[in-house]
């Protein structure tokens, strides 16, 4: 909302307060001032002058030497100044300069606009072709007024026909041009009232805050009275539904003279951001801005002189042609004002065209009603319309304010539109007390509670003063025992319901900045939980191995899925139904698409080596939702992507990333979690996005639980996504990993997974074992068989070579293992180990198609 300080000054004396001081105080008290605007023309130092004499320039044919008359009484200073300012000689190049015309004269030191780009510049004394020029005669563009006046002839701006000048008996030569034209500026505060303060959507409401903040008297509205005219009327108001209208007042006026509004009113409306239309429309807007109560003017001759006005919900499919020339088809969400059941306006939003005021209107039916905030909010939403009126109704208006607003408008209509007041028609909905008929609610405020809540004592006198300034009434008889009995005015009954609400009122006016800084009296212990340690360990292990953490959006779009070749489990999908953007409509079920997009983006930026991971949630619908339960599963996932090389500097060749590189990283991760012995990599061809021959499922504890996958992106998808090198992806369910750690009970506890194992007392003996095996026989199987032989002294099995060659045959490969034997009881002998090795080889050869080399 825009608050003109010129206007505000009518209700509270702002003398001595700078706009910045007012803005700061309002902002601190919760009425945020977003911007301070200075209105009015940008030029300064320009006065009205008259061309006295035009002479040729001695040194230029196209230039003229002009004497400008500037009046005599303009400056009351020393005589010399008055003398020099009474006239000025300037050089002028405009062809239309002629003797006797009134012009805008910019003196030396004046600020005017550059005609080319509108920038401001300050005039200095200059000499043009050897003749001194003491100022400038302005074109309209140099004043930036071309939008405000009819377009004059080219050249300088002749001002003789300007009405504001003609109305003077003698042109006020030497007078500041802004004053002459009535264009003095104003300061306008752009304020953002909080959602719960409908009362601040008015000039009077803002004035009340300012009066409280600076402890200045507030100019209260005067009570208004009208005498009814003895004119018969068959028009009446009957309200049936209190949910859509609680009070409806209508003022009947006649003998309207539609015309322009007084200049001061147009100016104030303009400052408030409202276009001036005619006196009647302007008065309804003016009163709304002043009081916060929206009004609507119907042409009563169009409305009809007899019948019943009501407010009801629209019927499905009902139509109404509104003032903006749109025919609207309505639903029962919309609320309409009706005349004999026919809709004539969208209540609190916009009038209908059939009853619109025009230049010929003679009779007026002026509406001031109380529409409940919820009804107008829903109605506005259903028709997709917002207006100044609805903004006020939605925040909540004051039912006690309706009649005053109506009478205030009637007063202005009488004065500025020649109208005669006939009478007021009023009705309250069934079950709604008539305005003024309900006692104000009362709240007891204990000063001890205030001190307890704020950590600061505010004395009774100050507290009482603040509350009174805000419009609360105090019952003096009950002011005792450090408490105040406070009655809440009608315009605060929506947001002030409890003692704590009053405490906030006192605190914010007193000033939050006066409340001290303390620390809580009691404190506690904060620890890193097992879950937090687990989550941090995941990232730490990956970062140490060169992976950079990324964060991708959890709200994705179908385009990303399509591009990366992923799909969602349809029946488990959480979709957003009201997104503004097609890129953000679905909750992700995998982190992989996001990582692929990040890799693609970085390759497009010229980064070939992308090693990244993300720890983030995925979302699945599982059960039915109810009031307290979404029926969703949100699971933490850990995913990574590797492509390019393991970069250790460019000047030597780096190994390209491959499957085993990713697997090694994952093995280190599992080791860091003490899960290394419990997870196996099983070949899988199932994942559509992966290379069928280079993909594995990570299986926990004998293959019972699948933790996730690791594999190379399918080469076809690699090509579609324009990756220049193979891309390796993994994605693990962190919840399952955490569960495998006993839901954290294994982390950091004395019985946990991290334990000391006694260092070996006796030396180990190592033996190498090379074998020729079919390529289809996995290493994992060989190791599993070896382990199953349960040789007690065999402590480690390490693969140290894989060899493939033509002479072995394409279906064979050689694998070389280093076996470590050790006893905890004694030093082993070479022959003992050799015997054990031989036994192992013999057993293995019986079980597997292998030959030892």
């Amino acid at each position: 909302m825009r608050v003109s300080l010129e206007w505000l000054n009518e209700y509270v004396d702002l003398d001595g307060l700078s706009p910045q001081a007012i803005a700061d105080a309002l902002t601190q008290a919760g009425l945020e001032v977003e911007h301070i605007e200075t209105t009015g023309p940008r030029f300064s130092g320009v006065v009205l002058g008259r061309v006295q004499q035009v002479e040729p320039h001695p040194n230029a044919d196209r230039l003229r030497l002009v004497t400008v008359e500037l009046g005599r009484s303009e400056i009351s200073g020393d005589d010399a100044a008055t003398q020099t300012l009474s006239q000025a000689k300037v050089v002028c190049g405009a062809p239309n300069v002629r003797e006797g015309i009134l012009i805008a004269f910019a003196r030396e030191g004046a600020t005017v606009l550059n005609r080319k780009d509108g920038s401001l510049f300050t005039l200095a004394k200059t000499a043009i072709r050897g003749v001194e020029s003491a100022g400038m005669i302005c074109a309209i563009e140099e004043l930036g007024l071309e939008a405000d006046f009819p377009k004059p002839e080219d050249g300088i701006w002749p001002m003789d026909d300007i009405p504001a000048i003609r109305k003077h008996a003698a042109p006020p030569l030497g007078m500041d041009l802004k004053a002459v034209l009535g264009l003095e500026g104003d300061t306008v505060l752009h304020v953002a009232p909080p959602a719960n303060r409908g009362d601040l959507m008015s000039m009077r409401g803002v004035a009340r805050e300012v009066a409280a903040l600076f402890d200045r008297p507030l100019q209260h509205a005067e009570a208004l009275h009208f005498t009814d005219l003895a004119e018969r009327s068959e028009l009446h108001v009957v309200l049936k539904d209190p949910d859509v209208c609680r009070y409806y007042g209508g003022a009947m006026m006649r003998k309207l003279a539609i015309g322009p509004s007084p200049a001061w009113m147009s100016r104030r409306l303009q400052a408030a951001g409202v276009r001036s239309i005619n006196n009647v429309v302007d008065i309804t807007n003016y009163v709304m801005l002043e009081t916060g109560q929206p009004l609507h003017a119907f042409d009563q001759l169009k409305l009809g002189l007899s019948g019943a006005v009501d407010v009801r919900r629209a019927r499905e499919g009902e139509t109404l042609l509104t003032l903006d020339d749109v025919s609207r088809t309505l639903t029962p969400e919309a609320v309409v004002v009706t005349m004999n059941d026919a809709p004539i306006a969208l209540a609190g939003l916009m009038g209908g065209q059939s009853t619109e005021i025009d230049e010929k209107s003679q009779r007026l039916f002026l509406e001031s009603a109380h529409f409940p905030a919820v009804a107008i909010r829903r109605s506005a939403k259903s028709v997709g319309l917002r207006s100044e009126a609805s903004a006020r109704f939605e925040r909540g208006t004051d039912i006690e304010n309706c009649r005053y607003a109506l009478l205030r408008a009637a007063e202005l209509l009488q004065r500025y539109a020649g109208a005669e007041f006939i009478r007021l028609l009023e009705a309250s909905a069934p079950g709604v007390p008539t305005p003024g008929g309900q006692p104000a609610p009362k709240i007891t405020l204990y000063l001890a509670h205030l001190e307890q809540a704020l950590g600061l004592a505010i004395d009774e006198e100050t507290t009482a003063r603040i509350l009174k300034k805000l419009g609360f009434l105090l019952q003096p008889a009950t002011r005792q025992n450090g408490s105040l009995l406070v009655s809440v005015p009608s315009f605060r009954q929506e947001d002030i319901l409890r003692e704590i609400d009053l405490i906030e009122e006192v605190a914010r006016i007193y000033g939050y900045d006066k409340i001290p800084y303390t620390l809580p009296k009691k404190t506690g212990v904060a620890l890193l939980t097992p879950r937090a340690r687990f989550v941090r360990q995941l990232g730490e292990t990956l970062r140490a191995q060169g992976l950079q953490e990324v964060m991708t959006p959890s709200l994705i779009g179908p385009r990303l899925l399509e591009k990366t070749g992923f799909s969602l489990h349809a029946e488990q999908t959480v979709a957003v139904v009201n997104s503004h953007s097609a890129e953000h409509t679905l909750m992700r079920q995998s982190l992989a698409p996001g990582l692929l997009e990040v890799a693609q983006f970085n390759q497009a930026q010229g980064e070939e080596d992308v090693w990244i991971y993300e720890l983030g949630r995925v979302y699945f619908r599982r059960g039915k939702a109810n009031h307290r339960n979404t029926g969703l599963a949100e699971r933490l996932r850990l995913a990574g992507l590797l492509t390019g090389t393991i970069s250790t500097g460019r000047w030597r060749e780096n190994p390209a990333t491959d499957f085993y590189c990713m697997k090694g990283i994952l093995e280190n991760l599992l080791t860091a979690l003490h899960l290394e012995g419990r997870v196996s990599f099983a070949p899988t061809g199932s994942a559509a996005c992966l290379h069928p021959g280079k993909a594995a499922a990570l299986m926990l504890d004998d293959g019972k639980t699948e933790l996730g996958f690791a594999g190379e992106l399918h080469p076809e998808r690699q090509a579609t996504l324009k990756f220049r090198q193979p891309v390796y992806l993994f994605e693990l369910d962190a919840e399952l990993l955490f569960k495998a750690l006993g839901n954290g009970s294994d982390i950091g506890s004395a019985s946990g997974a991290a334990r000391f194992h006694r260092l070996p007392l006796y030396p180990a003996i190592r033996r190498d074992m090379a074998l020729l095996a079919p390529v289809t026989l996995p290493h994992g199987e060989i190791v599993a068989r070896l382990e199953a032989l349960r040789e007690p002294l065999l402590r480690e099995i390490e693969l140290f070579d894989e060899y493939r060659a033509a002479q072995l045959g394409t279906d064979k490969r050689s694998l070389a293992y280093r076996l470590t034997f050790r006893s905890d009881e004694a030093t082993l002998t070479e022959s003992d180990v050799d015997q054990r090795l031989t036994r192992l080889k013999e057993s293995l050869a019986k079980q597997l198609p292998v030959q030892f080399r």
Binding site: G30, E34, A195, V374, R395, Q452, L454, G455, L456, R498, I500, D501, E504, A507, R508, I515, P516, Y517, T518, L519, P520, K521, T523, G524, V525, A526, L528, R531, A532, L542, R543, A544, Q545, Q548, M551, T552, P553, S554, L555, V574, A575, V576, N578, S579, H580, S581, M587, E607, W611, Y613, Y619, R621, A625, N626, H627, T630, E634, L636, T648, E735
Partner: protein, 360 residues
């Protein structure tokens, strides 16, 4: 013979000494200096056939009275020659070593080679930092799975004292989902307050970081999702002044140094009194600039005393307990701290951007 043999022997010894010294001097220049030195050692000082040994064999002809003197001289000459030989050998070894090392010299100005460790995403980094600051003030961090992001209206609005149809529900553009029963994407981390207080009675002193969603048009300031950190303290005798003190301490720790802060009145349905906290503009230090909208202040969080209705909703007696809550935007704080000018950078994940936030 006695005296003659005596004098003769002395002469021989001294001549030999000069001869060896000369040979040693020459050996230095020999192509294979090591071998030359060895030859000299064998020729002169060899225990069996060395010439010095040969000379000292003549000692037996010297009268016993002089034998000790000449014997001492012979020993002295032997030791001196051996020392000279050792020195030559050592010099030679040093020289050879120096040559070898010089040949091994590398260009130490060439770049080092190590796999570069990855870094935290700046948002994680800022969240961990904030969590640590509040941990120092006794605020326990809630676990990442304590609070859902897809939430019911009850936890996002109703329990937080947003009445149905209250205009406040329009303050945020909330994403609603296809899950029947008004399931939405949480618009604030404040659901953590309710989730935590439902789990246990006061004292409650927690902090809860997480992702929130707003149905906004994406631009340099706004994205459809961002991160918040929610804080909640509920105990006996908690005052607004405690809120001010805790948050000022946070600002000191997070931005460093003494920074002016201010608290403005505001409105949130779940706090009363409500406040917004501003910190003096990091960039212009209060002088007014584009970032702070020429106000000299930057809004960094919303806060307030927990509304009694919220406590009632979780069956905590507001007459016995009071508390405060606050919520701050992680992206905004990170942008201010690191002078980042576009929120989309956090979600584009340009590695050149992410790599700037490593280490201290």
């Amino acid at each position: 013979m006695d005296v003659k043999a005596d004098i003769d022997l002395k002469k021989k010894l001294k001549a030999l000494k000069r001869e060896v010294e000369a040979a040693l001097h020459d050996a230095e220049k020999a192509p294979d200096a090591g071998a030359a030195l060895e030859t000299i050692r064998v020729e002169y000082l060899g225990r069996k056939d060395g010439r010095l040994t040969g000379i000292t064999r003549g000692l037996k002809d010297v009268p016993p009275a002089d034998r000790a003197v000449i014997g001492a001289l012979a020993n002295e000459i032997r030791e001196s020659l051996e020392r000279a030989l050792d020195e030559k050998r050592e010099t030679l070894r040093q020289k050879e070593l120096a040559q070898k090392l010089s040949a091994e010299a590398i260009d130490v100005t060439m770049p080092g080679r190590a796999a570069t460790p990855g870094g935290l995403h700046p948002l994680t980094r800022v969240m961990e930092e904030i969590v640590a600051i509040f941990a120092g003030m006794g605020f326990q961090s809630m676990d990442d799975d304590d609070c859902p992001e897809v939430e019911t209206e009850y936890y996002n609005f109703e329990a937080l004292n947003f009445p149905e149809h209250h205009p406040a529900r329009d303050m945020q553009d909330t994403f609603y989902t296809n899950v029947a029963g008004h399931v939405l994407l949480r618009s604030q981390t404040s659901n953590a307050q309710i989730r935590r207080m439902e789990k246990g009675k006061p004292p409650v002193r927690v902090i809860s970081p997480g992702r929130v969603y707003r149905n906004e048009e994406v631009n340099s300031r706004k994205f459809v999702l961002f991160h918040q950190i929610e804080g909640l303290l509920v105990d006996e005798d908690v005052r607004f002044s405690d809120l001010k003190g805790v948050l000022r301490e946070f600002v000191r720790q997070f931005f460093g140094g003494e920074r002016p802060t201010r608290f403005r009145a505001s409105f949130f349905p779940f706090t009363e009194p409500s406040a917004e906290m501003d910190v003096q503009c990091i960039l212009c230090r209060g002088a007014g600039c584009q970032t702070c909208g020429h106000s000299g202040w930057l809004e960094i969080m919303g806060a307030g005393m927990v509304d009694p209705n919220v406590l009632k909703n979780v069956n905590i007696n507001p007459a016995q307990y009071t508390g405060f809550a606050f919520g701050m935007g992680v992206e905004r704080l990170a942008m201010l701290k690191y002078a980042i000018d576009d929120i989309r950078l956090f979600f584009n994940n340009d590695l050149r951007f992410l790599r700037q936030f490593k280490g201290l």
